[in-house]
Subunit: 306 residues, 4 copies
């Protein structure tokens, strides 16, 4: 934990937005940032970055995570006396809030008995997260999105599992794409690894190992004042870990110390192809979480509008 | 059914966007409409129109609809050997897709053995909606939103249950607010009735009876080429019904004949107050549904950006 | 807590069946007791003591308890090519383990950081009960059942909510019925209160207040070496409490100190009528819990065989 | 279907217990049979025949069947003001009614538009089984159990997948064990195949192929007037099928034509060892289903008492 605590001292945002804050770096999204984001809409093209929510999703039971169970509660139920008259159908879903494309809330990972901004771990009970729950993000997350296509910059279809993304690689992508990540932006990091699931249909290859951000990126994300960071993998950070003795350092430092929201399993394939075509790597990004009271995450359907 | 079939002949959009179409009036949202929507962002202010998703939501068991059941699957689970090291928490939700703020998909209501665009009712099974499911709306719903505040125009805090909204009332609101609903817009109709739940905490008063659109509005919605219409009630249309012999005519005609998506239980209170303050009744509207494969609806967190 | 701790000293069974025991008073059910139970089968008549498991059950959302949600996962699914050939249907249920007729496991209630037999409360986590879970009762509960019909002995259809049952009343019932509760027996206490739900259909009247065992019965149950005790109410013990300052004393002392399993919401009406008719108040009692690993309770369908 | 329809004519029990009957061969369990069953209790030994209901159960997602999802809804919740005072814990389960040890109801399989006893298939909807539901078996299933240990008689630890059990093999087991299946008995057929799951922990080997009853056994079960038949596999009948063109003939004929209840995934290992030891192959069998209203099956914990 020494490695983590050492970096934590440098990147901590505790108290930065007041002792009661539960939203962290989303506070970087100022009205000006939102106006800048809206100005990115030039063509009127919309891209969904979500995986389908279905029984054949990426989960295979690891850690008790299952794919959504979707069932009909009313099926063609007749209203009134006329069988030719209106009928309605209803349905229900049971799903882990972490089953597919999702935001991790700032209550998802913590250490040392404290969540982001010093809220005590005792606020996190079987009743849910009384602090830092995803419901605190109800009025978001809308900002300018910036896609950095690490796979394309490396000239490969996809980065390999275990590939560690460095700050230098992020900056190389900025230069190659002619874009710069600014304060309040939502950073989308494409590795192409999602193709292990969407193209190869290999859940285990997709979920058990992945390329991703290395621990060195944490200070870079802090310096750039990123509002949120998402990737096309299940963890955003690289796995297997750089140092097996340091568990989930990017999660621990981003979520608990910086208050930086992480987005996982974003399908960036169609958006990346479009950006490569028109050379525009910024867009209006919109991914409102379901305000599940006390939720430690939320399934989402993020949209990029160009 | 004669009343419905008669109007259906005049408002049907079957075939308008091809025989395979499953998106209906959302097709009115052209790139130009989306650019017009983005241009509505002037201040950079965001409003969430969702009710909280929680066990104390508006449902009271009617028709098998329950409030969300939110449970922890992992609670402060230790990662690695160090008890002071990172811990994670996961959760799961079970909820009717119609439990709170939501979109009805074009498979939610049908009659005469056919869904919107003539897709056979046999495509709607215990496995879900193979046609017109909410997953077909994945890349939406982003457009210009127009709020018509019927309660404010009538000079009341809220319209009474059973109050029938007429086309004339909608146009009176347009004139009073100095706005006009155009092709591709998402129309938000405020009645104030949601206060029966959010202020009075009376689920039954909120869910069992409500003010809403009368059947005469259907042709008006068709003429204006509205992309979607939402309200702050559980049905959008008035209940008790205008004619007890004609079941859910607005649902039947909008969803099945026009292919018009309905949004229910939108909390429009904060947005309406802001619009009244600055006189701006249009905004960028963004409400991406969760792409639940075969879903007949989706819980949503609609955002209005001004 | 002084009252509880004082009685606890006298009724504690901790260590009585070894320091590893997780079954408590069910250990009183010896092979001899089971043979005595089987000998009670004289006519070959079977009585189910369960409420139906359905959406219209007794729960009304109190404490997050809902009624079972029963849904079809496969509906008349065709097997093979012939539509006239075999079809199958499957279903799923989501229910609180405490939603209707049930056993409380010995992990359901505890105090002072310890469960029955001194097992630490830390064994009870979001993953379930590692100690004293209902799965430890898999090979039970089969024994001789003895029904004491308190309502009938009092000459009323049902005892009133708040009515405190005393040891004297239990012994009066024994004498009136000509039966005696012996070591290893399962005691069924009928109050008639279940009629508030089954006859009056008033969930709230049934669930919020009830007649039941008073704290004085705890030592009586201990002296008689009862294996388990069940009643036709939601709590077995009286509510409102005898002393508002002493929370659930019967649950606390029976479950945590004696290791006595409690059964709730048993429908004893048909069985009681039959026993009154033939004068036989003992029978083979059989209520195997579902061995839910780590469950703190189990839904059951108890059978009485005469 | 000709093969099935031909046998159906000879084994049909439609109308045998009246046109309204929904219980089928369970009607063979007369009071006399129950008395004979109770007389089998000689030692007072109890055996649970259930698999644990847990997340690591035998399901692997086939046909949408998942293992039970067990979650805590209340975890050590403090009652009253004193933190040292009583605390309670509650939990919830979501499980397919067919996930582990279970009864198939007489609505589980049908063909030709009719369920057992001619009840129309239209009674089986998204709301459940209005006819032949497992709730109709609430007062059962208690009878004499007879275990036929096919593996032991063949001198093997377990029969191989695809092994077809014939009537001759059943009678050979009767002779070897010195027992005879009589009217009203519950027949338990041990193949040993469950060890693929309980010993080898190979879900797929256990669930995808299995030894079991061949189609010729149907008429034998009919002639012997068996009340119910259960086995230690997922299907009771052999799979792969004897004739790929005849889908699930034993399910179709037993459930739909005879009204014979099938029990699946019974763990017979401990019971079989005991019976082999003492030479007693009959016992009091008790497996009350949860009376899930409209359920097409029920999870159970069957008990054998010797």
């Amino acid at each position: 934990m020494d490695v983590i605590r050492d970096i934590a001292r440098r990147v901590s945002n505790w108290g930065r937005w007041g002792s009661a804050d539960e939203r962290g770096t989303v506070n970087f999204i100022t009205p000006e940032v939102i106006r800048r984001a809206a100005a990115c809409v030039k063509r009127g093209a919309v891209f969904s970055l979500a995986l389908p929510f279905a029984g054949d999703g990426p989960q295979f039971g690891q850690g008790g995570r299952i794919n959504p169970v979707h069932l009909m509660t009313s099926l063609q139920n007749q209203l009134g006396a006329d069988p030719e008259g209106p009928r309605y159908s209803d349905d229900v879903i049971m799903m882990p809030l972490q089953c597919a494309t999702q935001w991790d809330s700032l209550a998802h990972v913590h250490y040392g008995g404290q969540l982001y901004n010093g809220h005590p771990a005792s606020t996190l009970t079987a009743a849910g997260a009384a602090r830092n729950g995803i419901d605190k993000m109800a009025a978001g997350i809308v900002s300018r999105g910036v896609l950095l296509d690490l796979a394309r910059v490396h000239g490969v279809e996809r980065l390999q599992p275990g590939h560690v993304i460095s700050p230098a690689a992020l900056e190389a992508a900025e230069q190659a794409q002619g874009v710069r990540v600014e304060s309040g932006d939502v950073l989308l990091v494409r590795t192409g690894h999602i193709r292990a699931f969407t193209v190869d249909h290999d859940r285990i290859a997709y979920m058990k190992q992945m390329p991703g951000l290395g621990i060195a990126c944490v200070e870079w994300l802090h310096a750039r004042e990123v509002a949120a960071v998402a990737s096309d993998t299940n963890m955003v950070e690289v796995f297997p870990l750089e140092d097996p003795a340091v568990m989930l350092p990017v999660h621990a430092l981003c979520i608990r110390d910086m208050g930086l929201t992480l987005g996982e399993m974003f399908d960036l394939e169609a958006l990346a192809s479009d950006c490569a075509r028109d050379g525009e790597w910024t867009f209006l990004f919109n991914a409102p979480p379901l305000p599940v009271t006390g939720g430690v995450g939320s399934p989402i359907n993020p949209l990029a509008v160009k």
